[in-house]
Symmetry: C2
Subunit: 291 residues, 2 copies
């Protein structure tokens, strides 16, 4: 199996389920559901849901029982993209190859659609089939990944880096991305093990997720330098224009590539056996993707 094939398979299931849960003729006569559909049904890789489903496959769990967790993680990711794109944040016009939500509709609706996605994510997560105490633990894992010690904390640190005379250090950059992109990717990998109550799998998938998250960000930095704007579906070369510290500015393209390969090796070493095929394929996909 290739990572692309697994992504395609999960994308089909996830897109159909999102479409089912957000009917176009929804009773709600406001722009909110229009905004939610626009953002959630945009063409996306569905990488985080694919991680959830791949980890579930490794653990031998029923995919249906995990689907709400896969959707929940995608909802948190989508809200973070909507808010990151806002004028007061990255001020982006293009996302997933289309106008960003605040450009397509309006800024207030974009803020509120993002706000709606968070409680939706936590509510949907509770639909997973698992013992209530496991669902409570899963909620904690996702909330921590989304909160001040995760995604939001990393985003604040990215926009307002701690002031050092020497600029952003390699450690700062690792900490930033551990929170900004790593926390949610790690949560995606870990949630199935939390729901199954398998402590050893939680530990292995945590290390797997952290390595994959870091490899993902390093590859993003390399693609921002070398990637094709059309394939990426968003502006490229911005890091350099903004004078941003990235894995490429700190370590060069070859140095960054070497770290990504190390992280891939760490990820692959965490999970073994035939049922780990999708986890292996996704980790490999991350460092080999061209968008």
């Amino acid at each position: 199996m290739t990572g692309g094939a697994w992504l395609d398979e999960v994308r089909g299931v996830v897109d159909a389920e999102l479409d089912r849960r957000l009917p176009p003729d929804h009773a709600e006569p406001t722009p909110l559901y229009q905004a939610l559909r626009y953002a959630l049904l945009a063409p996306g890789k569905r990488f985080r849901p694919a991680l959830v489903m791949a980890a579930g496959r490794w653990l031998g769990l029923d995919p249906q029982d995990l689907l709400p967790a896969a959707l929940a993680v995608e909802l948190i990711h989508t809200y973070s993209l909507i808010h990151d794109d806002l004028p007061a944040m990255d001020n982006d016009d293009l996302r997933r190859g289309r106008p960003t939500l605040h450009r397509a509709l309006s800024e207030d609706v974009a803020i509120l659609a993002g706000d709606a996605l968070q409680p939706m994510a936590f509510e949907w997560l509770m639909e997973c089939r698992a013992e209530p105490e496991r669902r409570v633990e899963a909620l904690r894992a996702l909330a921590r990944a989304a909160g001040p010690a995760g995604l939001v904390g990393g985003q604040v640190r990215d926009l307002h880096p701690p002031a050092h005379e020497s600029g952003v250090s390699a450690d700062d950059l690792l900490a930033l991305h551990r929170d900004k992109t790593g926390a949610l990717i790690t949560a995606a990998a870990v949630l199935p093990a939390v729901l199954a109550g398998d402590a050893e799998a939680v530990a292995r998938l945590t290390r797997y997720g952290q390595a994959v998250g870091l490899a993902f960000q390093i590859t993003d930095d390399m693609l921002d330098v070398a990637g094709d704007q059309l394939l990426m579906g968003k502006a490229t070369g911005r890091d350099a224009r903004q004078g941003k510290t990235t894995f490429v500015t700190l370590h060069g393209i070859e140095g960054a590539q070497a770290i990504a390969q190390q992280e891939l090796a760490i990820a692959l070493s965490q999970v073994h056996g035939a049922s780990a095929d999708a986890l292996h394929a996704l980790a490999t996909f991350v460092v080999e993707r061209d968008h």
Copy 2:
């Protein structure tokens, strides 16, 4: 007991606990915790936490077991105020008598602080002492109140009212406020009963919360016309300047006052006995307050 006395008592506990949980010397060297402290420790009525604790008192629950639920509701309320005040929304300069968060710090940090408060609320709610399945139900209740069928849905409808030739009807206004302010107030009243697994109390506190929420909004509308900007801690008279439909424009001051009194009577009729004193006092406070 007066509503004011109960609010004072709960405020002391809530403020101390928020201060304890958000230490000023937090390890996080970014503006995020500064923003969270600024927003959460601003002088507030703590009306929703007071409702949580009053409902718990009625049910004979240990206040310590409920405190995380009281904080969770206040976190959701605080995030909604931060985002409502943003330039793309109500564009307010003043909140609780001080500059709004985006004026005091910056717009990006205000958006992100609001974003951080949601997962924090759901994570903190899980700290309530109750069976895991009750905590899952409590999570669902709070998430629904915060989401598209609650607070966010109401806010979207307020900013983008459904287009009727005849303007906003009395039914539209009721539906708007049922979601925008009523859903979270109702959740605050109901959470203790959900955590206790008491279905009859859930039903009674739902009706109580809906009535109190409506009375609260009607009184807000009256105070916007007649209230003192200094006491309110925010601009007054804005509804009229914006040509907004309110309970006062639809029913006049006396008509609005009469509806508020009807709702108060409904709220009072739901809960009985000596331990309902705080719930009664808060409902009465809502229609008699001057800010």
